[in-house]
Subunit: 349 residues, 2 copies
DNA sequence: TGTTAGCACTCGGTAGAATCGAGTGCTAAC
DNA sequence: GTTAGCACTCGATTCTACCGAGTGCTAACA
């Protein structure tokens, strides 16, 4: 469904002066949201040339696709390619110490289940950056099943509750057209346990195909559980600060489109996934292949536990977003989040 | 936190002609979003008077607070009070047959856990009406506990999984500073079961205060479970079509404010709750007491199971929303939703 | 007494003209 | 290769005129 994210080609290096000019244009445009003129670039500290020189360089940068002109006699605006160059040549940045304290504070005190932590993290990220944040929790496809329990809600309705080694808990209803006795439920529960314990959803178990009621209950329960796996794999998405969308974009129509995308959680997951897999941490404008997000940039940072990808955090803003700060924030939070879960594990051993 | 919703006073009846005029103004303004002039009202079929007469009536309606004038020489616009009168005197409406089929279709085929049904219902409602929808699932405060299970994730981390009679499943982590042996976990699980089975979160159970490790594990687990109850009571909120907010309101700032409210799920729950308790099914403009929602109207309809309130559905739109259609849709869906769950129960007996 | 036609008046919205100025591209000199 | 100088472009702003939808008032009418 989601188109593959264009691999950001390592853009051919520009000569030093062009690079400085491009950087100045991008920086200022991010700041002011206005087209940037040659004279304000020329007044840049790192540059000792006249506006006229800057202009001729800008003509070149425009010809090469890094800059664009909204109309004659306006300043220049970065293109996606321009932003891409800027991001690729961005020095490392760290977040301000106040924010660093905020994050440390947060992770020192955050409590509760994984879901709660992820949700609150998304709020944190969005408040730190003023952008909409996305936090994706990994699915439990490869976690092993620690416990499964069949609880009878009534004679025709059983609930299969499964606990995974990563702490995830799922429930699945099993309806039967026939009434099931408590002893049948107990027997089915015993068999289900025997089948599932220690397995993961990735590796389906073979269910014996006897035709008595208990066996068919077992079959129904297990297949309901397995039915979930391939589609969603239990990924969880938490979106924080969706109201920031209205701040970041001026056109109401753009806001609508972006919100419409955010509503589709599956799509958000695959979007983040695609960007992660592209190896880059930023997808700018049309790079991610969704037309309605053409004026957006998406920053992602993986969350890992023991080197395994366990989710991701992301930030969605306009292409003219504050990449340096946002990247730093996303990276800091994703690291801390990774450490947080590892820390929980270590408290264990 | 949430201010009490103003009880919609049964507005003193207007005489027939004023009522017709008010209705015409409201209807047309909902349609066109423009101030309504005397002549277009006069051309209304039910009215056989001249624009001049309409004008003098409008002056009266304005004096009484039902209408307002954006500026001299503009037409009239309904005030919140005007909308209130309109809504209070709205004849019953049914949704179109196409939509009726859509709803029937939906409930005939929807499957999955309660949460999934509620989430999909919110999408349905929003697509039917083009407004943002809210679906609130009741908490499990008064459901009894059918099963509780303590699963060991590792020696210091146990997971208490609780199944309620309404089919809800919760999990709560219990961390211990000391390592717990499998046999201790089993013993604690046994004791917890003995304590909790058949109880509800409303009625706290007394936990014996022995000081061995098993007892303290039991204590921790039970208190963690109970800690949840008073605040959230496990209500679940599903919001559908949040992108509709961008369509319904023109000012970007309004959009931002509304989205910011929708982000706070607890607030949405209490908002819906308040309106339900006020006995009305619509809260218009300032009636619900949230300043940032001053230009919004909220329609709610309760979902009941066996006469018990089990949740609610809601629609959030601009004050000039299509009340008749939206009310009909909300009522239809809430009825069907109620029936859906009862139907599930009946399949049982 | 309620209704209506007639009319002067108000005022937001639109269109056009004038102007401003930021910024450009080009050229010629350095 | 760089830069000062300069004519030129074109969006944004301001101003004006004007239109017209809609009003409120008044006087005549049923």
């Amino acid at each position: 469904m989601a188109r593959r994210v264009a691999k950001p080609r390592a853009s051919a290096d520009l000569d030093a002066r062009k690079a400085t000019i491009l950087e100045a244009v991008v920086t200022e445009h991010i700041d002011t949201a206005q087209p940037v003129g040659s004279s304000s670039v020329a007044s840049n500290a790192d540059l000792t040339v006249s506006p006229a020189t800057v202009r001729s360089e800008m003509v070149a940068l425009e010809r090469e696709g890094y800059l664009a002109q909204p109309h004659t006699s306006a300043g220049r605006v970065p293109t996606d390619k321009g932003y891409r160059y800027f991001v690729d040549h961005l020095g490392d940045a760290t977040v301000g110490s106040a924010q660093q304290r905020q994050v440390a504070e947060f992770f020192a005190h955050v409590r509760g289940e994984v879901e709660d932590v992820l949700e609150q993290t998304s709020t944190l990220l969005s408040e730190m950056t003023s952008y909409t944040s996305v936090v994706v929790g990994a699915g439990h496809g490869h976690a092993t099943i620690l416990s499964s329990q069949l609880v009878s809600l009534d004679a025709n309705h059983q609930l299969l509750v499964t606990v995974f080694s990563d702490g995830a808990v799922t429930k699945h209803s099993v309806f039967t057209p026939y009434a099931v006795t408590p002893s049948d439920v107990a027997e089915a529960a015993r068999q289900i346990n025997a089948l599932l314990l220690g397995t993961s959803l990735e590796h389906r178990v073979q269910v014996p195909s006897r035709s008595d009621q208990v066996a068919s209950l077992v079959r129904d329960a297990v297949s309901t559980l397995h039915a979930e796996a391939p589609t969603v794999e239990g990924e969880q998405v938490f979106i924080g600060g969706s109201s920031r969308v209205a701040e970041a974009f001026n056109g109401v129509e753009t806001v609508r489109k972006v919100l419409a995308i955010l509503e589709q959680e599956l799509l958000v997951v695959s979007l983040v996934q695609d960007v992660l897999e592209s190896g880059s941490s930023v997808a700018i404008g049309s790079e991610h292949g969704y037309e309605s997000l053409a004026s957006c940039a998406l920053i992602v940072a993986p969350v890992t536990i023991d080197g395994q990808r366990a989710g991701a955090v992301g930030l969605l803003g306009p292409t003219r977003m504050k990449y340096r700060e946002a990247l730093a924030a996303a990276q800091l939070v994703s690291e801390q989040l990774s450490r947080h879960f590892v820390g929980e594990d270590e408290r264990v051993q």
